[in-house]
């Protein structure tokens, strides 16, 4: 593993000029895309500080010529009458749901993807294609069977094979973890398989010669190399679970003991959906954590450089 050398150091001056020119066009294109991509969110952000009546009657850009600022939307979201101080509980719930669901998916998917890519057993390709195809099974269609598995157990021909899971209090999170893990697995296996299958065969042969088994190879050779891939999957799984509403509604219920932030925010839209201006502030409150996660994990993407140099 060699550290990448700085590109500028070895360049001729002509090449440097050329690079700077094309670099400028590229920069402009990049900025344009970035602006287009950010503008809608920015509009929402500005709106979240505007009074309800103004949101509904004037465009958010008029804010800059005629600023009127209010924190009422955030106050409602953070300290609304019933949820006084409870928002923190929903935050905790979201974490308790999201963290294990992410860890479970990443670990199980990595193991499965490794087996599907580098172990020899009959039907390997078919299993992989099957797992891949499972991505299409609509979540909604799985809710009823899975829920009845948890709440009624399994009985075949009237004989109770597995009991119902009668969970109370904090234990209720377990069903949500299992549900999210299941729904995240097909995509996880698929994404990681792509990365793991691309690792050079020589790596594995070298390890085999040293007498390493699959367990050791997986831990010592594969895992360090696919850290960026694991991190991307972790981020996406984290986001999907964090932003999920449907699974949470069914498996976590709506109480402050187990329901995540999304459930609370959806509830705040009011019975007839009238309070949607609160969603502007709500959207930002719930965005904070995903963005922090993204920022803090970003350095792992850069590590891809190191993984790449081994591969070459």
């Amino acid at each position: 593993m060699s550290a990448p050398t700085s590109p500028a150091a070895t360049e001729s001056s002509a090449a440097r000029v050329r690079r700077r020119l094309s670099g400028r066009a590229a920069s402009i294109a990049a900025i344009v895309i970035a602006v287009v991509w950010t503008l809608p969110t920015f509009g929402l952000f500005v709106s979240s500080f505007r009074p309800e009546q103004e949101i509904k009657t004037t465009g958010w850009w008029t804010f800059f010529t005629d600023p009127s600022l209010t924190l009422a939307n955030y106050r409602d979201v953070l300290f609304g009458t019933a949820s006084q101080g409870q928002l923190a509980s929903y935050f905790v719930n979201s974490f308790v749901i999201t963290l294990p669901s992410t860890v479970f998916v990443v670990a199980l998917a990595a193991l499965a993807a490794y087996a599907l890519a580098w172990m020899n057993f009959p039907g390997r390709d078919w299993i992989f294609l099957g797992v891949f195809a499972l991505q299409i099974v609509p979540l909604q269609m799985s809710l009823v069977p899975l829920l009845s598995f948890f709440s009624e157990g399994v009985s075949i021909g009237g004989v109770q094979v597995l009991p119902a899971w009668e969970l109370e209090g904090a234990f209720q999170f377990t069903t949500v973890w299992v549900a999210h893990t299941i729904f995240g697995l097909p995509l996880g296996v698929f994404l990681l398989h792509n990365f793991i299958a691309q690792l050079p065969r020589s790596l594995f042969e070298a390890a085999r010669v040293d007498g390493a088994g699959h367990g050791v190879i997986f831990r010592r050779v594969v895992t360090p190399l696919i850290v960026p891939a694991l991190m991307s999957l972790a981020i996406f799984q984290f986001l999907w679970v964090w932003n999920d509403l449907l699974v949470a509604l069914i498996f976590a219920g709506g109480g402050v003991e187990t329901a995540p932030l999304t459930v609370r925010l959806a509830e705040m839209a009011g019975t007839r959906g009238n309070e949607w201006q609160r969603l502007t502030a709500g959207a930002f409150v719930s965005m904070i954590v995903p963005l922090l996660v993204f920022f803090s994990l970003q350095r792992y993407f850069v590590r891809g450089l190191l993984a790449g140099s081994v591969k070459g």
């Binding site: 009546q53 009845s148 709440s151 509604l249 509830e267 019975t271 959906g273």
Partner: protein, 448 residues
């Protein structure tokens, strides 16, 4: 394999087992104790003796309205020791099906659509009311109301809240300044509309956008006119599909709706062209009344909560409402409305206790005293209703002249009443022909 790593693994493996053994009861969060046997609790004596039990309720009511609900039974809850776990969800209609099919049904559910409750009654999931609750319901509500929750002669639900869907919202200030009187006949309504056009005001505003429920306000228009034009008998036949959806009677009603909602002179005050009705949310649709850009807005009594903060809703205030006037005199004063029915999926004693309590007039009064709510209960104390429109609504429902009918789209099969009827009306606003629309809805009516 190095030794420290193995030791770490062993510790990691045994830690959770230790914790599990010791912390199981702590983690499962045992509930806190009950409340005193004070004199305040005398009223709840008959329901005591279920200490430490929990009854789960699932409904579509959320946010502030849900908080008021929970407050309305908090005394009952603390006196009887029955913990009521309430959950409100915007996805109620779909999720209740999932929960029931998944074997995780709530003990009680508040159904805004009698049709949905009937579906569960027919499938055998919902439980018919026990005798005591049935007696309460029969003494408290008119037969009209109870019929909606009756399946095969068995009563499956008690009514909870109610609303009136034939309110026309208007600005009393605008009416008195321009010398309009609130109309009592259809002709007067049209006269006022024309007078407004002459005065340079768009007489009507409307908006049917409502997320995935877009279209329902337009169906309320059709139902209101059907009931007024052809009377309750034909209305019932139409709802039960005893006459086809594209019957000439329905076409006639839709033509009358057409003369208002698709009349460019009449709509869409404050929002633009006729087509803007389809994209204006029903919440926003009425606000131009405050700026006098729009004269009238047909929308349920619950719209009282939608006005911006600081709006006075009263007969002499910024906005108020009247019941949409009758069209044919022989059909009396038709009132279109809606409400929730409490259905049960369990019959444990504590569930029955909650059912009993919720069907009493004491409960209705307890909820009514908290505001923005009324019910069709015969003995509801009208003086408790603070908001003038709540009072107006409750009085309208109680009026002996009134012919009450439940919102038809909530009674039709959901694929029509919450599907093609909404969609058909949305496309109709967007320019489809009346015949085309009715044929489309008729076509979609499920067979058998």
């Amino acid at each position: 394999m190095t030794t420290p790593a193995r030791r770490r693994a062993t510790i990691a493996a045994s830690l959770p087992l230790l914790l599990l053994a010791g912390g199981c009861s702590y983690l499962s969060g045992e509930s806190q104790g009950a409340d005193p046997q004070s004199a305040d609790c005398d009223a709840y004596e008959q329901w005591q003796g279920h200490d430490g039990t929990t009854v789960s309720i699932y409904a579509s009511i959320r946010d502030q309205e849900a908080e008021l609900l929970e407050e309305s039974w908090s005394e009952f809850s603390s006196c009887t020791g029955i913990d009521i776990a309430y959950e409100g969800s915007g996805e109620f209609e779909a999720q209740i099906q999932v929960k029931v099919d998944g074997g995780n049904a709530p003990d009680l559910a508040f159904f805004p659509q009698p049709g949905l409750l009937a579906r569960f009654a027919q499938s055998g999931d919902a439980i018919a009311l026990p005798e005591s609750v049935r007696a309460n319901a029969e003494s408290g509500w008119s037969e009209d109301w109870l019929n909606y929750a009756t399946v095969d002669g068995e009563l499956y639900g008690t009514p909870l809240g109610a609303n009136v869907k034939s309110f026309v919202w208007y600005s009393p200030g605008l009416f008195s300044d321009n010398g309009y009187a609130t109309p009592t006949t259809w002709d007067e309504l049209i006269e006022i509309s024309d007078a407004m056009v002459e005065d340079g005001i768009k007489p009507w505003c409307a908006g049917i956008e409502s997320g995935d429920a877009t279209g329902w306000p337009a169906t309320d228009w059709v139902e209101n006119i059907m009931l007024r034009e052809h009377g309750p008998e034909v209305y019932d036949q139409w709802v039960d599909h005893e006459i086809p959806f594209d019957d000439p009677a329905v076409a006639e009603a839709l033509d009358r709706v057409d003369s208002i909602l698709r009349n460019p002179d009449y709509v869409n005050g404050g929002h633009g062209e006729v087509q803007s009705i389809a994209t204006t949310s029903f919440q926003d649709a009425g606000t131009p009344i405050l700026d006098r850009q729009c004269g009238m807005y047909l929308m349920g009594s619950f719209y009282a909560a939608q006005w911006p903060e600081g709006t006075t809703v009263a007969e002499d205030g910024d906005v108020y409402a009247f019941n949409l006037p009758p069209i044919q005199e022989e059909h009396g004063t038709p009132v279109l409305g809606g409400g929730e029915f409490i259905g049960a999926f369990a019959d444990r004693p504590e569930v029955v206790a909650v059912q009993e309590y919720l069907s009493t007039v004491e409960y209705a009064n307890s909820r009514a005293s908290l505001g923005s709510w009324f019910s069709a209960h015969r003995d509801l104390d009208l003086d408790l209703l603070e908001a003038p429109t709540d009072r107006l609504g409750a009085e309208t429902l109680r009026d002996s002249e009134a012919v009450f009918r439940f919102d038809g789209s909530d009674m039709m099969p959901a694929s029509v009443g919450a599907g093609t009827f909404w969609r058909g009306m949305t496309n109709w606003i967007n320019g489809d022909e009346t015949e085309e629309t009715l044929a489309y809805i008729e076509e979609s009516w499920p067979s058998s």
